[in-house]
Amino acid sequence: MDISFLLNGERVELRGVSPTRTALDWLREERGLTGTKEGCNEGDCGACTVMVSDARGSRAVNACILFLPQLHGKALRTVEGISGPGGEMHPVQEAMVSHHGSQCGFCTPGFVVSMANAHLRGDTDYDDALSGNLCRCTGYAPIVRAAEAAAEAPVPGWMDEGALPEVAGTVSSRDMTAHVPDSADELAELAARHPNATLVAGATDVGLWVTKQLRDLPEVIFLNRCRDLQEIEVTDEAIRIGAGVTMDRVLDLMRVHFPSYAEMLRRYGSGQVRAAATIGGNIANGSPIGDNPPVLIALGARLHLRYRDTRREMAMEHFFLDYGKQDRYPGEFVETIEIPRQPDRLRVYKLSKRFDQDISAVCGAFNIQVEDGTVTGARIAFGGMAGIPKRAEAVEAALVGKPWNDEAVVAAWDGWEADFQPMSDMRASSEYRLLAARNMLTRYLLEDLGAATNVREVRP
């Protein structure tokens, strides 16, 4: 596969790229740019953080699960390019030195890139901007002090990427096993012709198939250049989100429409993961612990699938048939997610060992309608409680028609065990999952009544 992108401001043309070569390995092994580090090789620690820019702006992403073809037509900036061409330090680099933000130094390049990206974008919520960078030495305090100290400094001129490489049309490898289509129409044709191909959007999961499971992917189609899959449309009836919309954009969208969904998404992966991962990928992947499906089920969202020019739609919950099995034909792909407009009664409760960047033990989405003190409708769905994202149908049935108070919670008591028999694993025990899920209904009720329920809103 032949691709082109900017590396630290210089145009790079690569011929015959292996489609699953990671940017990290290429930088370190072929370009000798060893500032970018491998810490975990699965997108969790952020030591490999690099900046990627395109017409949408810049973002920090993990190079260890970034395949080279995903860079086609974009600009890549590594820690070496955060310093100026003459070796001048970027303000965040200066501040990291003077505020003692590095100890062992191994995570530092990744932090510097995340900080330079936040600095460029004017982001000052550093807990959020740095949630995808792990440091084992400093306890983070001096790093945040450094970020704050550099915030007001002007962005150095060398951070401007200028004109991106002009690339046009669909790119395919010579042996036709890897493709970067340019539109949904081309994707539809390629997917139909290569029904066994792995569709790669952000590679935040598929990346691990390669780096951890060491799988060879015989056929790959990269989706990230299909701009028409990345559109968001909001009408009076519905919010329509293209499958290729990345989670950082879904987060921004939901801040307006469903703030509780947004707050959950703020904890979904990290900045690096949200900038790469797509909503379609999170659904099509079919994981029982993906965080979007339960929320979308609770919102009554509908899924639009496409095979060539044939389209069909279904309620979100019907897509998940069984563990690892979805209602999707070979060559078919998720095109759009459609959420009906509705008054915001949604609350999403994500439960994990660590608040930020942790996979849910339980993720509960509650959407309960109450009129005149009586429950008139309920859509409740969970991730982490079954082999698929699943509605709590018995609980919902028990609630509807009940007065909206403790009585409703009590009425639903037995419904929980009817709906869910969760497993025990390294994230939580079955007993805890069930207990916490039950208590989430209590939390929803009390929150509705105005009680303080969120430890993250408590100030010292």
């Binding site: 970018t36 084992r136 660590r354």
Partner: protein, 805 residues
């Protein structure tokens, strides 16, 4: 003067620009081979059949080694010679290296090892404490028991007695740079090994032993590690030996770095412990007797488990003067990764045991835990009291260490001589192992912290909040740390240094300590600059190198700057004295009055730049190079009897943490932490505060979100950062006040500073006990929270407190 200044880490400009080199960043000659281990998939048993033909045929594979192909057993153990590099056919844990592959790339080697076909004869593994006790699988013959007073009698006589049990999990180091080594074959069969290690001498010894070479044929160099935390004290041995074997056999460079999952599955972690306790106390909460049973799960091989378990016993008193204290320690052998050194080295586990007891006593009496702690503190140091008589000079050791050459004498796992240890004079407060507590400051330090953090007012506010808020409960805890400083294997308390002054006045400095991020090199360079009175940029710090300073101890036990700072000081002073003498002769002045300051050497009326002075000395044929050597005074320890003075001094600190938790899910946050810590007269306050902030967060992580989970087959299920959760940025306390205690070490350490690597780790105990305090607000019963306090454990403890069961 350069000491005491808050200067940045010497390598910070390299760190932030990506130019700092770690093992995997070192450019290698062409033809480098990349190694990976094939691992055992069962926890206990034998290999029935092994077929590696597909491994050998895999793309890029250059060589495959099994145990019988090695030049020796290639033992990796730092202690008992019980860790062959590759399995001899018996298997002891899931993740044990079985065979070794060398390939043309890292990825090719990783892919190849998965093509092995192995069938096993499994036997029943031993995992739990109870199973190990039942099977009597343990290291040493039986439990080690140390005792002060008669705890049995005192417990019987005590008006109040509590009993309890506390489980605390282990901890993955999660150094951001995984284990790595690179070996380069030299002429004459010699080897140069680059290793990410805290203990270059041990790497040198183990490589030499594996290849039947004298130690002078192996040179080990370590510029820096991307984090160590104890995880690179012995766990790098296997990689360095593997690289040396392959480099030696093929003549090609050989590099090995573990993929993160392999790193977590193969290498040892902090020991998890169960501690059972009985405590007797009076109605005021004064402890009369405490009896501890400490059970440490050591994993399959001995590694450093004996000194780790010893240090847990040594910290069973923490800050408390307990008239009768008995500690019985069981070192259990289990079919898991061999647990190893981790910051605090058993100290945190022992300390958490006694802090739990204090918490439990306070709950039983319905008193503020801080009052109970204060009532039991040792008495503060009084500088008007005359010093203790040092006693007679030490007698020769009763038994000499093993001389077979198999043992690395510089390892903490080495058997030590049974030391002579005189008893402390009567009337002096001592620990349960007979060490006088002569430098205690925690009464004054606690007062100061309690005042600065507003403990009393906040205690009242927390109580009021808990009264008014049904779902969210706050908790507060202020806990002390007293941590013993010195290697408990007494002979390790020595260090060497090598200092050169060049004719232009620039100084190159080398010592046996390694840099893992703690800023050791910078601190030691500050000492060198201060001795010569020159700016810091005239001092060059060079990579740790076994060819420059031999027979070094691990950079461990917080001892790095104490030992190496002193050794460098001695070397500098030797050169300085020679220079002073020569210059005094030249200028007809008194050598004793030659002054090295502000970049100049002042001789009588003359002031020479240091460079001019160096030039004159060179022309005067004065040696401008010197070694320096230091050994810690006063330490004498008999670990069998549990008597003596294992520690030169104690480091102190205290932390107050406030948390809030959600009684519906068990989720929680640390709201505020205030720390006052004793670094003596700090060599570099900025670096010391960095150690304290980082140590606290790492310690809090150990006791909160960091949970290691093995399944019933002994497979580690939390083998990557996706499942093992170290604190992230937002987990640090929202308000985080860290201050240094204004004091100097009463012992004569380098510039009267104190060690600061490990002690702050245990300040994290305050976060755990603050959670316990918040849970206590949910019901009447004692919560008896186990660690790590994941949201699940917190919720279950809340139910226990509510239901009284």
């Amino acid at each position: 003067m350069s000491v005491t200044k808050p200067l940045p880490h010497d390598a910070a400009p390299l760190h932030v620009t990506g130019k700092a080199r770690y093992i995997d960043d070192i450019p290698v000659p062409p033809g480098c081979l990349h190694l990976a281990f094939g691992l055992s998939e069962i926890a206990a048993g034998h290999i029935a059949e092994i077929d590696l033909s597909d491994v050998r045929r895999a793309p890029g594979v250059v060589g495959v080694w099994q145990a019988e192909d090695l030049p020796s057993d290639c033992d990796c153990s730092p202690s008992l010679h019980d860790e062959p590099l590759l399995s001899d056919g018996t298997l002891h844990y899931v993740g044990q290296p079985v065979f070794l592959v060398a390939a043309t790339s890292h990825l090719a080697a990783r892919k190849a090892v998965r093509k092995a076909h192995i069938t096993y004869e499994a036997r029943e593994p031993v995992f739990s404490v109870d199973a190990a006790l039942a099977a009597d699988t343990r290291f040493e013959d039986g439990p080690r028991i140390w005792e002060k007073g008669d705890s049995v009698q005192a417990l019987e006589a005590a008006p109040n007695v509590i009993e309890g049990s506390l489980e605390m999990g282990g901890q993955e180091h999660f150094y951001l740079e995984g284990q790595a080594a690179l070996a380069l074959a030299q002429e004459n069969g010699d080897l140069l090994v680059h290793s990410s290690t805290q203990h270059p001498t041990e790497i040198q010894h183990k490589v030499a032993h594996a290849l039947h070479l004298p130690m002078h044929a192996v040179r080990v160099e370590t510029r820096r590690m991307g984090g160590g935390f104890g995880g690179k004290e012995s766990q790098g041995n296997a990689l360095a030996i593997a690289c040396a074997v392959v480099a030696s056999a093929t003549g090609r460079p050989a590099k090995m770095r573990y993929d993160r999952d392999d790193d977590m599955v193969i290498t040892g972690k902090r020991h998890d412990f169960r501690i059972d306790y009985s405590a007797g106390f009076d109605d005021e909460g004064k402890l009369l007797a405490v009896d501890f049973l400490q059970y440490a799960r050591c994993g399959w091989a001995q590694d450093l488990s004996i000194p780790v378990a010893d240090r847990a016993m040594l910290h069973a008193d923490n800050a408390y003067d307990i008239p009768a204290l008995r500690v019985e320690s069981h070192r259990l052998k289990t079919n898991m990764q061999s647990a190893t050194a981790y910051r605090g080295f058993g100290g945190p586990q022992g300390m958490l045991g006694i802090e739990r007891v204090l918490d439990h006593v306070a709950h039983a009496l319905g008193r503020d835990p801080l009052d109970i702690r204060r009532a039991n503190y040792y008495a503060d140091y009084d500088d008007t009291r005359p010093g203790l008589d040092p006693g007679p000079p030490p007698e020769p050791p009763a038994t000499l260490p093993d001389e077979s050459g198999d043992t690395d004498l510089t390892s903490r796992g080495a058997p030590g001589p049974v030391g002579h240890a005189p008893a402390a004079p009567a009337g002096v407060q001592t620990t349960h192992y007979g060490q006088p507590v002569e430098d205690f400051i925690l009464n004054a330090l606690t007062d100061k912290l309690a005042e600065s953090c507003g403990y009393a007012e906040r205690r009242a506010r927390v109580a009021q909040w808990n009264e008014e808020t049904p779902l969210l409960k706050r908790g507060l805890a202020l806990t002390p740390v007293k941590f013993g400083i010195s290697f408990t294997l007494t002979h390790l308390n020595q260090a060497g240094a090598l200092v050169h002054v060049y004719q232009d006045g620039s100084v190159a400095m080398n010592h046996g300590g390694t840099e893992m991020g703690q800023g050791l090199f910078q601190k030691v360079a500050q000492v060198a600059a201060a001795r010569f009175g020159i700016p810091l940029d005239m001092v060059r710090i060079t990579a740790t190198d076994t060819a420059k300073v031999p027979n070094t101890s691990a950079t461990a036990a917080s001892s790095g700057s104490d030992l190496n700072g002193m050794a460098v000081q001695v070397a500098c002073d030797t050169i300085r004295d020679r220079m002073a003498e020569h210059l005094a002769t030249l200028y007809q002045a008194d050598a004793a009055e030659v002054l090295f300051a502000d970049g100049y050497v002042h001789v009588g009326e003359e002031s020479l730049s240091f460079a001019e002075a160096a030039k004159l000395c060179y022309e005067g044929r004065v040696s401008l190079s010197s070694t320096g050597f230091y050994k810690t005074p006063k330490v004498e320890w008999d670990r069998i009897r549990g008597q003596g003075r294992p520690f030169y001094y104690f480091a102190y600190g205290a932390a107050c943490t406030e948390v809030v938790l959600d009684t519906l899910t068990g989720e929680y946050r640390i709201l505020r932490t205030d720390i006052l810590h004793d670094a003596g007269s700090s060599l570099n306050p900025a670096l010391d505060i960095g150690q304290i902030e980082g140590g606290y967060v790492q310690g809090a992580g150990w006791l909160t979100t960091e949970e290691l989970v093995w399944d019933d087959k002994g497979r580690l299920r939390t083998h990557a950062p996706s499942t093992y959760k170290i604190p992230a940025c937002s987990d640090r306390p929202e308000i985080f006040n860290v201050a240094l205690w204004d004091g100097r070490n009463v012992e004569e350490t380098v510039y009267r500073s104190k060690a600061v690597g490990e002690p702050p780790f245990m300040l994290g105990i305050s976060a755990f006990l603050a959670l316990s305090d918040a849970i206590g607000a949910c019901g009447e019963a004692y919560p008896a929270l186990d660690a790590p306090a994941t949201p699940e454990r917190v919720l279950m403890a809340i139910r226990k407190a509510q239901d009284g069961v």
